[in-house]
Structure formats: C-alpha cells, structure tokens
C-alpha cells in the first residue's frame, strides 16, 4: 500500500513498492491518459510531472513517488476546466494524428514552457525527445511556439 498525491488528490494504492508508477496510475488509479509505449523510458508516451518536472513514469517506482506531487494529463487543465495553453495550442494547430503519444508530448512541452517560456528551436530539440511514429513533429514545433506566444 502506498499513498500517492495525484492531481492534488491523496490516493491509497494497493501495489507492491517496486511497481512502475505508470502501471499504478493506469491500472490501480484508473487514469489512462498516461500511455504505455516502451516500458524502458525511451519513448516518452508515459510522461508525467513529478514536483513539476517532466518524468517518464514507466521508469519510476511507486515508492519513489510517495510524498511527491504527481500531475498526469488529466490534471494539466486548470481546476475550472480551462485547458492548459499547450492543450489549446495543440487543438488550434491540429497537432495530433493517432494521438497516442500526444498526452506524453504535451506533458513534456508543458514542463519545457515552465522552465523556458520562450524556447528556441534548439531548446525544443534538446528537451523534447518523445517518439511519435505518425510524425507530428512539424506541427509539434509550430504549436510549441504558438503556445509560448499565446
């Protein structure tokens, strides 16, 4: 049993300590916006924020996340439901194709913009390393700049 704080709520999760946070979030908490893509922290589909930092939840155990503020894609919008500026830019720029990697991509970009409100292309290249097999990168880059200037 572990106590996690996810999207501002305290939740008791009945899992072994070494369970990857990804699976606790998806299967035990039931928040399925965080996606499984590789399980080895390569693809970024499972990106969440831990204490505001973008992390790949498949590579973190539940025990490592205890006592930290976990934010998933479901908790990215404001409490009044207003979408985060990255989500808004994604919709306006029609970024997603299949969309499977996009929640992780959006979480990674939201963290980038928190650190660097006006990222350069170089900042984007160095920070956003998520895999997208549909190939949305051109729209992702445009939407990051759009969100930064929103």
């Amino acid at each position: 049993m572990a106590n996690l704080t996810i999207n501002g709520k305290s939740i008791n999760v009945d899992v072994e300590d070494d369970t990857p946070l990804l699976w606790a979030i998806r299967e035990n908490v039931g928040l399925t916006g965080t996606k499984y893509g590789c399980g080895i922290a390569q693809c970024g589909a499972c990106t969440i924020h831990i204490d505001g930092v973008a992390m790949r939840s498949c590579g973190i155990s539940v025990s490592e996340a205890v006592g930290k503020q976990i934010t998933t894609i479901e908790g990215l919008a404001a409490s009044d439901g207003a979408l985060h500026k990255v989500q808004q830019a994604w919709i306006k720029n029609d970024v997603p194709q299949c969309g499977y990697c996009q929640t992780g991509m959006i979480m990674a970009v939201a963290a980038l913009l928190k650190d660097k409100p006006k990222p350069t292309d170089k900042d984007i290249d160095e920070t956003i390393t998520n895999i997208c097999r549909c190939g949305t990168f051109q729209q992702v880059r445009e939407a990051i700049h759009a969100a930064a200037n929103a």
Binding site: I40, Y100, I128, C132, R133, T136, Q138
Partner: protein, 730 residues
Amino acid sequence: MNKHITPALSRRAFVIGTAAAGAGLAVGLDIPFGGPTVVRAADGSPEVNVWVVIRPDDTVVIRIARSEMGQGTLTGLAQLVAEELECDWSKVTTEYPTPGQSVARKRAWGDFSTGGSRGIRTSQDYVRKGGATARMMLVQAAANEWKVPVSECTAANSTITHTPSGKKTTYGKVVEAAAKLSPPADADVKLKDPKDWKIAGKSVLRLDTADKTTGKMMYGIDVKLPGMLNAALKDCPVFGGKLKSYDEAKVMGMKGVKKVVRVNDSTVAVVADTWWHAKTALDALPIVWDEGENAKVSSESIAKWLAEGLDNAQPAFIGNQNGDAKAAIAGAAKKIEAVYNYPYQNHAAMEPLNATALYTPDKCEVWTGTQNGEAAFAAVMETSGLPADKCEVHKLILGGGFGRRGMTDYVRQAVSIAKQMPGTPVKLLWSREDDMQHGTYHPVTQCKLTGAFDKDNNLTALHVRISGQSILFTVRPAALVNGMDTAAFQGLAPTGDWAIGYSFPNLLVEHSMRNPHVPPGFWRGVNVNQNAIYLECFIDELAHSVGEDPVAFRRKLMAKHPKHLAVLNAVAEKVGWDKPPPKGVYRGICQHMGYGSYVAGAAEISVTDGNKIKVHRIVASTDPGHVVNPAQIERQIAGSFVYGLSALFYGNCTVKDGRIEQSNFDTYNSMRIAEMPKVESVIVPSGGFWGGVGEPTICVAAPAVLNAYFAATGKRIRSVPLKDQDISFA
C-alpha cells in the same frame, strides 16, 4: 528455409476476410439508401440512411466504416458526406458502425478495410451518394409538409428553405418524416462537381482532436469492463516454433495471478488482476519451446539465399517488360550494374497490440483497435466457434496502425484466452518486446539493376531483378496470380495505380520469389518503399555515369508520363533545382507512383565528417487527383518523412537463431524532433481520379536523401539502414 506460415482460414472467414482486405468485394455490396422502415440509432434518433443519423437538436451523426489511426480519414469521409448533405459542419459528429451490425444488414456499410491508402479513395463515391440521398429525402420531407413542389426548396447549412414563401425548417424537424420516405432513384442522385465544394476540399480541423489532448480518448489499451482481468503472453521466439510445456505451479501463487492458459500451439498467457501482475508472473514462468527447423536461420543465411535469386539463371516472375532488355544489355557499349538491399522492419505503432474479449457460450464480443473491422469479426467467429449473429467487434481509435493492425493475430489470441475463462472479460496487451519480436515485417529483398548505354550515351535498356520475400504469398495467397505476387512490382508496373514513370527502349522487371520464415506484412507504403530506392537511386547512378543532370536525365525518359513528370517538375521548381543550393548543402531528387497517386521529393542535406547527415529541407509534391483536406494531406506528407527517414536511418530487424534480435526502441530507434527537417508540401491535384494519401509519399524520403548523400560525398549507399553503414543524423 522456404517454410512459411499459412494462416488457417475457414471458408466463411475467407470470404469475409478477403473481401474486407480489399481484394475486391467477394460478396455483393448491397448498400441500402433508406426506405419505408425507420431504423433507429442507439439513442432513438432516426437514420435517414446508413450513413446519416439526425437528432432532433439538429446534431448530424455521420457513420464512418473505415478506421481512424491518425491519417485523418474519419474527418475526410465526414467532410464528403457533409458536403453532399448540405449540413451545418459545426453540428457534425461521427460514429463507427460495428462489423456485426454491417454483416446483419447485408454489409450495409461496405468495406471496413483501412489499408492501402484506400479509406477515402475507394469509398468516396458511395459515401457522397449517401450524403446526397439523405439531403434529397430531407428536402422532400419538408416539401411534403409544406405541400409545395420539391423543386421550389433548397437546402444549405442544415436548413431547408421554400424559396417562394421564405418558409424555413431544419433537418432535425423533418428527419422523422424523411426517414419514412423511399430513397430517390439512383439516376436522380447527382453528386457535386468538386469545384463547388464548400466543406470538402477545405482544411477544416479534425473532428477527433480535443480528447487526444486531455487523455480522454479511449484506445484499445484503455478499455475497462466490469470484472475485467488482464493477460500478458509469450509466443515462441522463433517463428514457426511451438510451445512444448510450461510450469504454471511456479507462478500460480504470485500476487494477482488467476490462470495460466495455452493460447495456441506457440503461445502461453498469464491472466491476472492487473497487467503488471500478469507480466511479472509471465517473466517468472518456466517455459520450454520446441524451436523447430528455423532455429538456425540468420540475417546472413537469408541474405545469401536472396543473393542467389539475383542470378538470371534462377526462375523469376516477370512484372513488366518491353523489347529485349537482356539482348540490349549484352550488346551495349557501356553497362552499369548495382545491387541494393532492404531489410526487415517493424511497424512499431506507439500503442502496443491489444484486444479485450468477453466470451460466453452465447456471445463473443471484442473491443480493439483494428484496421479491418470485418477481418477482426471473421477472426472472432472462427476462434470463438460462434455464428455471426453471436459475435461482435467494437472498434476503438488506433494508437497507430501502419498496416500491422490489419492483421488479426492479436484478436484471435484474445478470444482464445477469453474462451478459456467464460463470462470474464480479459484484456490482452502485448509488451513492446512482443510487438517488436512478433511483428509482420516489412519484407526483405535485394535488387540487381543493370542499365545499358549505346556509344552515344543513350540509355538503351534497364533490367531490374528483385529477389526476396512476397507479402501476398503468406498473407493473402489467394491474391497470387499464377504464383506471382503482383504487389512486388509496386511502382514498377506497366500501368495503373503503381505505374513506372519512365519509358525505356528495352525494359525487364522481374521477381525471384524467396520466402524466409519471418512473417511479412503490409508496412505503410509496402513495396514502393524499397522499389523507389532501387529505381530512383539507380536512375541517379545512370545519370551521373553519363555526366547528366539527374532531373534532365529523368525528363528525357518521362515524355509519355506527364503526371509523373508534373510532380517532379513541381518539386524541382520549389526546391530551386535550376539554381545552386547554399554552400555546403547538397540536393537529391526522385519521383515515384503508388496507391494511384504521383509523388516526388527533394532533399537538401549537409554532411560532416563524411558520415553525419543534417537534413535541412524537404520538398515533396503529390498529385492525388482530388484533395479532401489539404491540411491533413500536408500532415501525411510531413509524417511520411518521419516514418520514411526513421526507416532509412534506423530501421533494421535482424534475425539471429531464427528470431528477431531487436526488442524495443533502444535497439530499434525512431527519429526525434531534433532530426526532423522542415517539410514543404506542394499539392497539385489534377482531378479526374482518386489517389491515396497516407502511404505514397514515404517512398520518396529515402531516395531523395540517398541521392543527396551521393551529391555531397560521391559515395553511393545501396544498403538500408544507414546506421549499419556508420552513417547517422548530425
């Protein structure tokens, strides 16, 4: 070595499966366009016809039979229906009819298969007709109510107007009456000229974006059913091997484990409360395999066998020929020869394969992302042993397909597991490692090309000899023509959707078929991917061998291929071929045809240390005949360079001891945003035909860059991927 896996298909599965796979409609396509009996959607709203449901609040529900996997087909098909329906686009929503409903209604929605870039081009006519028919019935209903001639009424934006009186009503108000009308005669249904389109042809935003940004979008992997358990599986690592035994006692006491089941003759699964528990137990399960006769096959042994097929003395199928290429080559003043090869590659869709099944003796239901709802339905029938009226497939949005989800292996496995746990829904999820090592791979081929010149450096002959794997031989053997796989000649065919864009005085294109045990499949772009590299890099070689400009050399061969030439010219113009590139930047260019569309591409690259490539800019042109959504076509073109360049730089599934060596994205890499070039699209629809969009462009990615690499370094790369040639992104 020539062993292969032939899927066991029952007769009934075969009929549905092959029809759904697009080999032509094996059963009659009987699409009802309304009628006196009102059919109602689940919420009680009436169908005007199978494509259009209108709710009392004027919401327009458009039925989409093809699958959405990112390519935008869902939005594009809705645009086409809405265009003819004259409805308010802001009130349009979509839903998938199920394959079970379609079968029960004599295939009311036609083909569900979503592969071969056919989603729009092979259904645009009947879905547009569905929209037009519904509009005519709605207008007729209003005219009847007003007791005025229908000719005095018009429809626009979901509103019907009686022009002389100015009376107005909306679709939602007349839909009940419209649904009771008989549909108009076929001959009275006139489709719009595309030049008059207002919704189709425009870059409207996709209909399925919002939920993809909030985590609400439900993919197959996200399905939750009451009492559902989760399954993880292991298939014999050697293709064709068998499951000998396993020791379930070792894992039955592990947390959450409910059952260990034999899935089929090569696969075992652990079922547990969560997938993580199932996977943890599976990894601890002792399994003994009978690896069988393929356990010694390697990439090297396959390559050696394929190389033998390049020998002209070996038998081969002829896919295209004119004149006598062999004689012309024998008598040539100059002969140029080169051998290329292309490896196995995995689709690696971001969402690993999965399906959820619920079996009882009276019903078998499956929830899954599939590119082929009817083939999945046939797989459910066959595996469950239940008749069609007791089977159902609920389709979900796909987290990528690329051809892999046109297969039904994972659906069969899920049903097999569920059948052993009647009444309990079970979600089967493959790990990324399962997905990587049990794919249906882009087939492996080699190609020897020979060009002949006369003493004045005129090209007199081309001989293209492909040796390697046929997809159809394994996946769709009924589609072979006297043993020949015509799809092996995609982009090299004499005419049609896959026509070669050049005329040669003497031409011979042949295929020596060799089918290793690694299962092949349709991989986004399929055989145009390697055929474009073979032909377009070799044409570049021929041009350079006589000191000619690669574009000028091509143009001389393309006089009888104006549409191919038009896209090549469009790219040449946009990239500025007639002017030198910036200092240190080098260009490559190519053109090809696939899926009924004409495509061309140019790359501008720089190379440092001889082996680090920076792709600065891509220009790509396509003529798909008609354009339904330009913004979505641009996205498919840009995305094609991610898929195509990932394949060029990284894509290789190597075989050792009969199995695939790569297991995850650490060993099978995919491009990141830092490696993404700027892609400029030039869409030049010439009208008069409907070509595909999702796949054709991929094939120009690799030859454009390879030809640019030659321009930069003088070194010709004839083997994919570049990582194995010690070449990387800069």
